[in-house]
Amino acid sequence: MSDADRDAATAPTVTDRISEEVREGDAGLIALVMFGVYALFTIFVILGPSQGIGGIVAALQAITFWTALYAMLVLALNLHWGYTGLFNIGVAGFMAVGVYTFAALTAPTGGSPPGLGLPLWAGIVGGMAVAALAGALVALPALRLRADYLAIVTVAFSEIVRLSLLSTSLEEFTLFDGLAVVPDLTLGSGAGRGISMPINPTIPVKSLYYTNPMNPASGSRTVVGNTVLPAFASIGVRETVVVSMTYTLVLIGFVVLFYVLLRRIGNSPFGRVLKAIREDELVANSLGKDTRMFKVKVFMIGCALMGLGGILWETQRGFTDPTSTTFRPLQTFYIFIALIIGGAGSNTGSVIGGALFASLLFQGPLYVSRIFSKYIPTGDAPSTFAAALGPLGSLDVTPFLAYTLQNISSLRFVLVGVVLIVLMHRRPTGLLGHRKEVASSIDLLDREPRQKPETPTAADGGGRDD
C-alpha cells in the first residue's frame, strides 16, 4: 500500500484514481446502488402510463439529476455536520445567497431587475465567494457559543435571506448612488417577480448542440447536435432529455469534485482536527489546536459548496423567485434526511443517502402514484379527507385511493417520517455512518520497513492483530 500511495502522490492520473476507487469498493458501491435504483424505476415506468425507451431514459435521467444535486449538497453538509459536528440548519439560506449573487452578477445590465452582465464563471466564483462570506458572517459570532446556538443562528439566517429576497425594498436598488468616483450600480432581487438568469450553467451544455444556445429554436444545430440528437431521437429520446442528460453529466463531474475535495480534507491532519472538534473541542484545544480557525475555515468552505450546489440546482431553469422550494427550510430538512440515511461522516454514505432520498423518497412516490392512477380514475377524487374516508364504511376504497394519489406529495412526509423512525431504531448511524474513515493522509498501520528488524516484537504486525 505504501508504495502505491507514494506512486499516487507523485503521479496521480485520473484513470489511476478511478481504478483505485473501484478497487476500494466505494465507486462500486455507489454504482451498485444506482443500478438498483435504475432497475426499480425502469419497472415503475414500464408499469406506468408512459412507456417506451424514451420514457425510461427520461425517468432515469431525472433520477440521476436529482441524485447528483442532492449528493452535492449532502456532501457539503457532511463537511459541516458529519466531519466537524457543526449543526448548520440553514443550508437553504446559503444556497439562496449563492443563487442570487450569481443572478445579480450575470443578469444583463438592461434586464428587469438588472444585473452586472458578467460572464458565467464570474457568477459561479462570485456566488461561491459571497456564500462563503455569508458563512463567515454567521459563523464568527456563533461559533464561539455552544453548538445549539449555531443551529439557531443558521436557521434564522436562512429565513432572513428568504424573506429579504421577497421584500419589495430590495426589488431594485442602486449602489454607489451619487458617488462621483464609482459609477451607479443598479441591482435587484426582483422580489416576488423573481429574477431571470439567461446566462446559466446549461448554456455551455446547450452550445454543444445548438449554434444559439440562448434560444435553441432560433438557431441551428451544431455538428455534434446533428449527430447525437437524431441518434437519440431514433430510439425515442426527446431533444430536451438529451440536453438534460448532458447537464446531468456535468453535475456528476461536480459530485466527483466535491467528493475528492472532501476526502482530501478528511484524510489529512486538517481533517483529524475537525474530527477531534466533533468529538470534544476542549480536548482539541488542550492539545494545542486553535479550533476556532478550523471551524471558521470549514464553515466557509461548506457554505461555498452549498452556494455552488444552489447555483447548479436553481439556475438551470433560467429563472428563480424566493418562493422556490429550494430556498425553504424544508430543503435543509431534506438534505439532512439524506445525510442521516447515508450516514453522517461518510462521503460515500452522503452520495448514497442523496441517491436514495432523491429516488425513493423524493421521486418514488410520484412514479408509484402514476402507476396507480393508470388503473384508478383520480378525476373524481374527493376534495376532503372526510369525504375520502366516508365510503370506506361501505367497503368502497376507490375514493380513498384516489384521494391518496392526488395528495401523494403530502404523503411523502409520512414516508420520510417512517423512514426516519425505522432508521433511528435500527441503524442510528445511517447506512455507512459506522464506517471507520481514518483521518490521515497515509495508512497508519503501515510502518516503515526499516523498523521491523530493529524491534521485531513491536513490528509484529504493527498491532494489526487483536
Binding site: P269, A276, S286, L287, K289, D465
Partner: protein, 297 residues
C-alpha cells in the same frame, strides 16, 4: 497568603480546629511562602499568583498562589471541592480568572488561549479521561504533535503540497508507534478510543499529551480508576520522564501516593492554599490533618 483566620472561620467543619495549633500552622505557611519566593527568583517553571475565580457567588478559587520548581514532581492535594480542578482550568485557559496571574517559564499565560498555552509546552490531562471516542488510538496520538503542516487547509488539499504532508505523516507515524510501544498499548492501535478500559484511557491520555513534546505536564488524577499494576507502570513512566527533565504537577486523592512520590506538596482547601512544603512537613501539619485528612479520608 491571607487564608489564616478567614479559612478557619469561613468553613463550618474546620471552625472547630484547635486554636492552639494556629501558631504552628502559621509557620508552615510562612516557610511555604518563603520557599515560593526563592523559586520565583530562580528555578520556578510555573508561577501562580493570587488566582481568583468565582462561579455565581461561590469562590471556587480564592487567592491561590504557588510555584512549581522546574524538573520537580509536585503534588496538589485537597478534599473534593477544594478548587484543584478549577485551578487547572484557570492555568490552562479553559476558564478566565477573575484576578491573578499565571506565568510559565517567564511567560504570562493569563489571557492566552487554551491552544496557545498547550503549544507553549504546558500540557494537561483531564480528571475524567476525555478520549476522542470515535477516533482510533492511532488517530488520537497523530492528532497531538505541534506544527503539523497538514493542518493548513491548502497543504491538506492541493495536489502539489500533499506529498510533503504525507512525508511528514510517515515520520510522525514512527514516533506514534514508538510512543504506543513505550506505553504498551500498541496492540490497541486500531481500536476506537471509546472502547478502551478506564486504565487504558489514562495511558492513552498520557501518551497523547506526551506527543505534544511538553516541558511541563498537569495531570488531573491520572490514577483514578487505574489498577495497581497499571498505576505502578504509569508512575514509572512519570519518573522516567522527570529524569528526562519534564516538570509535573499532579492532582491526586491518594495521599500516600503523593507523599511517597512527590518532593513538594501543595494542599488546597476551600479555594485557598492551606499549606505548602515537603511531604514530611505536610504530613505533620496539624491544620492539614484537621482540614483535609480529618474530614475526608
Amino acid at each position: 497568603m491571607t487564608e489564616d483566620g478567614t479559612t478557619v472561620e469561613g468553613s463550618g467543619e474546620t471552625a472547630t480546629a484547635d486554636r492552639s495549633d494556629e501558631a504552628e500552622t502559621e509557620q508552615a505557611v510562612d516557610s511555604g511562602e518563603s520557599a515560593r519566593r526563592e523559586l520565583d527568583a530562580e528555578s520556578a517553571s510555573l508561577v501562580v499568583e493570587d488566582l481568583r475565580k468565582s462561579f455565581g457567588g461561590i469562590d471556587a478559587v480564592d487567592g491561590v498562589s504557588f510555584s512549581v520548581e522546574r524538573g520537580s514532581l509536585t503534588g496538589l492535594i485537597g478534599p473534593n471541592g477544594a478548587g484543584k480542578s478549577t485551578t487547572f482550568n484557570l492555568i490552562t485557559g479553559v476558564h478566565e480568572p477573575d484576578a491573578g496571574r499565571v506565568a510559565f517559564e517567564g511567560e504570562t499565560l493569563t489571557g492566552m488561549r487554551t491552544s496557545s498555552i498547550a503549544n507553549s509546552g504546558l500540557v494537561r490531562t483531564f480528571q475524567i479521561a476525555r478520549e476522542l471516542e470515535e477516533m482510533t488510538v492511532l488517530e488520537n496520538l497523530m492528532l497531538s504533535p505541534r506544527g503539523q503542516s497538514g493542518e493548513t487547509l491548502t497543504n491538506a488539499v492541493l495536489p502539489g503540497l500533499r506529498g510533503s504532508v504525507r512525508d511528514e505523516e510517515r515520520e510522525l507515524r514512527e514516533t506514534v508507534w514508538e510512543t504506543l510501544e513505550l506505553f504498551e498499548i500498541d496492540h490497541l492501535a486500531e481500536e476506537r478510543a471509546g472502547n478502551l478500559s478506564g486504565g487504558q484511557r489514562k495511558l492513552l491520555e498520557l501518551a497523547r499529551a506526551l506527543m505534544l513534546d511538553p516541558t511541563m505536564m498537569l495531570l488531573d488524577e491520572p490514577f483514578a480508576g487505574v489498577n495497581p499494576t497499571l498505576e505502578e507502570k504509569l508512575l514509572d513512566r512519570i519518573h522516567e520522564l522527570r529524569e528526562e527533565g519534564l516538570t509535573f504537577l499532579l492532582v491526586e486523592h491518594d495521599i500516600d501516593l503523593i507523599m511517597e512520590h512527590c518532593e513538594h506538596v501543595i494542599v488546597m482547601h476551600q479555594g485557598q492554599v492551606l499549606a505548602e512544603g515537603p511531604p514530611a512537613e505536610i504530613r505533620s501539619n496539624d491544620r492539614v490533618i484537621d482540614a483535609y485528612l480529618g474530614e475526608d479520608v
